[in-house]
Point group: C2
Chain length 447, copies 2
């Protein structure tokens, strides 16, 4: 059972058992039985979440409900550009089904979650600026309620315009699995790009990063699919510790900060004449001396491999302390500066290896407690660091303490700290409506 008891980053418990229903009827039976016996259910998809919300606690009293066998349906409506899919189908399986139609579900992540998990986490990823998060692409949702226990509810239809009362499915998007078992979703899907262009650029200053982003959105905004910030530390960690990577700017040294730009288009060059890489290159040419001082163009595969290797590189340096935060993107460079200054001043033995989704304001402020540090790893110091950084994000920068990983046992205490009383009361009321005994999920959003 270990695979079901241990989370991808946090969450390590002991389950009473694991159930793997293969149909909605079986889910309903499990929910009814758990409800009658007062047993808590922990829904689990691919168990790739990063806040511990898909694994049981240590009590040995909770049942893991795995959706891994709920994968009978993956029905594409090509003309509607939508797909209706069972909760246990993975992102990769979904995209495999869509590919022959020239379509895809463009949420891009460093994992392969299930559709149910993606809805419960409202995943975003690197291409959010172009395609939005899961919420933006969710047309309909089916769930088994805890109250009335085992009752099936269908929320929404395969429609882009439907305003017939409150949009109930929103209650279960980003729910962290609380309140109901998600069994099926209808998603809007998109035309798969046929052309892309990439560049890694070195901005002249922090201000230049935002100027560059704005210029890009005004000049090539129809195509912008990613605008990712990479710190020098993060690039260096990947280059040093992940085989097959090199400094793409060589012989120039690894810069203090760089931006990975990606443009994509599905449009037909025969009609548009657009060569995206040429467009990007001539745009960057004009940005030289204005906002950028160095750039390497093309070779998207190598640049993305560098970007996606940062987490692995960082882990090689020591114990990572991860922050998945966001701020208004107008504040992102100022926040990054302030956070680094704080860590340098108060936690000089820690090493910042940050990267982020500049275009959507997301910052993965990864901090490393080096394995060869003179100071030994201390959970109390980590807690102090978390307190300081989250306070800065939320109070000084009007940001979020969990941008895209959601809330689980790992960070629920910050929900309680930073969510105003009125909002928590309303959240508790919502939960009580669908799950009055709090039998589904690992967190309570109440006061």
């Amino acid at each position: 059972m270990t695979a079901y008891e241990q989370g991808a980053r946090y969450g390590q418990g002991q389950a009473l058992g694991v159930v793997r229903p293969a149909s909605v009827k079986e889910v309903q039976a499990v929910v009814r039985w758990c409800s009658e016996n007062g047993i808590r259910l922990v829904p689990q998809g691919a168990n790739t979440g990063l806040v511990g919300s898909s694994t049981p606690d240590a009590s040995g009293t909770q049942v893991v409900l795995s959706t891994s066998r709920l994968r009978g349906l993956c029905e594409v409506d090509v003309a509607n550009r939508s797909v209706t899919v069972d909760a246990g189908v993975t992102l990769q399986e979904l995209n495999d089904q869509l590919e022959p139609h020239g379509l895809w579900f463009p949420i891009d992540l460093g994992a392969n979650p299930t559709v149910g998990g993606m809805v419960a986490t409202n995943t975003g990823g690197t291409r959010l600026i172009r395609y939005g998060d899961v919420r933006h692409n969710l047309l309909a949702l089916q769930a088994v309620l805890l109250s009335p226990a085992g009752e099936l509810i269908n929320m929404g239809r395969a429609l882009r315009k439907d305003n017939t009362g409150p949009d109930l499915k929103q209650l279960f998007v980003g729910s962290s699995g609380a309140g109901a078992i998600l069994t099926r979703a209808t998603l809007e899907v998109h035309v798969r790009p046929t052309q892309s262009a990439t560049a890694l650029v070195v901005p002249t200053s922090d201000d230049a990063v935002l100027q560059l982003l704005q210029a890009l959105e005004h000049d090539l905004g129809d195509y912008l699919s990613a605008f990712e910030g990479l710190s020098g530390n993060a690039m260096q960690a990947a280059i040093d510790h992940v085989p097959g990577l090199r400094n793409p700017l060589s012989p120039d040294p690894v810069p203090e900060f760089a931006v990975l730009i990606e443009l994509e288009t599905a449009s037909n060059k025969a009609y548009t004449g657009v060569d995206l890489q040429e467009s990007l290159n001539s745009f960057l040419q004009d940005q030289f001396e204005q906002t950028i001082e160095n750039a390497v163009i093309g070779n998207g595969h190598e640049l993305w491999k560098l970007r996606h290797s940062i987490s692995e590189g960082a882990r090689a340096l020591g114990k990572p302390i991860a922050f998945d935060v966001s701020v208004p993107r107008s504040q992102i460079m100022a926040f990054r500066r302030a956070a680094r200054e704080l860590i340098e001043a108060e936690f000089p033995f820690l090493h910042v290896v940050d990267f982020g989704h500049i275009a959507d304001g997301g910052v993965h402020l990864n901090v490393i407690w080096s394995s060869d540090s003179e100071q030994t790893y201390d959970e109390a110091v980590v807690t102090k660091l978390r307190d300081r950084i989250y306070a800065m994000v939320v109070q000084e920068f009007a940001g979020s303490f969990s941008a895209e990983h959601g809330v689980g046992p790992h960070n629920i205490s910050y929900y309680q700290r930073y969510t105003p009383q009125t909002a928590r009361q309303l959240a508790r009321g919502l939960r009580q409506l669908v799950d009055p005994m709090q039998l589904c999920g690992t967190v309570s959003f109440g006061p």
Copy 2:
């Protein structure tokens, strides 16, 4: 007080009074007073809604709360591409503020609603396929709750990624004004297009309409901003009755059905080389004989004027009976055919003047009771027609009886008829959480 008592299409009542608070504090005081005295509040923005949800009933006991003076704030964060705006600011005023920055809020409607009204209605409009509805562009929302009475709640921040518990603002999007007074919103805004291309095309068949849409999305999908269906009857009504219009396809006759295509881009031609009208023209050239048999290209102003004059033209023919429905867009031509056949068979004295947003599945199935019909207008017949059409939409085509106009006293009975019991119970529970005495708004979404 008449202006506040009479709706734009439905809703004609008598108010106890009209209050026009100029600040959130004043809204809070009004809400507290109404709560203490058990008086129902009807929030009203620009009163442009089409389902009667912004006007009081005939009892003379309800107070209209107009947001027309809540317009002190309209703060643009250019680098964040967002705006924080008071609920009483209109769409036009908002866009006037955004224009100097090369930005806009791209919801395109035949009216000039307030921001609060747009959130409460979750407006969509003609460019939904490109930009989404209001829900897709809402980052944060402020409201005054009825319970605790007069309490201010801030939901969300100016963030694109924020997953810290249930997204409470969703409770008030498309609420029809029920449950709380919306006072302020933060919206994502977009880069204003600098180039557009239009064409009016005549498809070879119903199937060809969907083939054309799919080809367009695959070949020029980055730019597609509208794909509007116009019936021949609708075009003819506009041409006959609205001054300054002509048949754009002349000397060919007005076709039975045509599609207005619009492409838009904000991208800089200096970098892309794209001439959108040329791209569209060469795409259409290849579609000749495949999906289209006639086309007129360019002259967007004239084509959009024709499209936007349909309602006025239809009104000149007699009494309009409006249907704002949607179906999965893969079914839209089949639905249109079935609906027209039903009306021809069972209501041969009525005249169908339909148009629709093909790309998002929305159909404005306007039916006219001609002023020179032999049969005199009969409300019972209208009700029978409504029952038949809505049953067809919802039961046969898995569609929605209210695509973008929302639910108000005008159509609440269809909500009750077509929303499953489980969903209605949950909706009632939601309402009870925020407004247990049902003091705000004109409709109840319960059983």
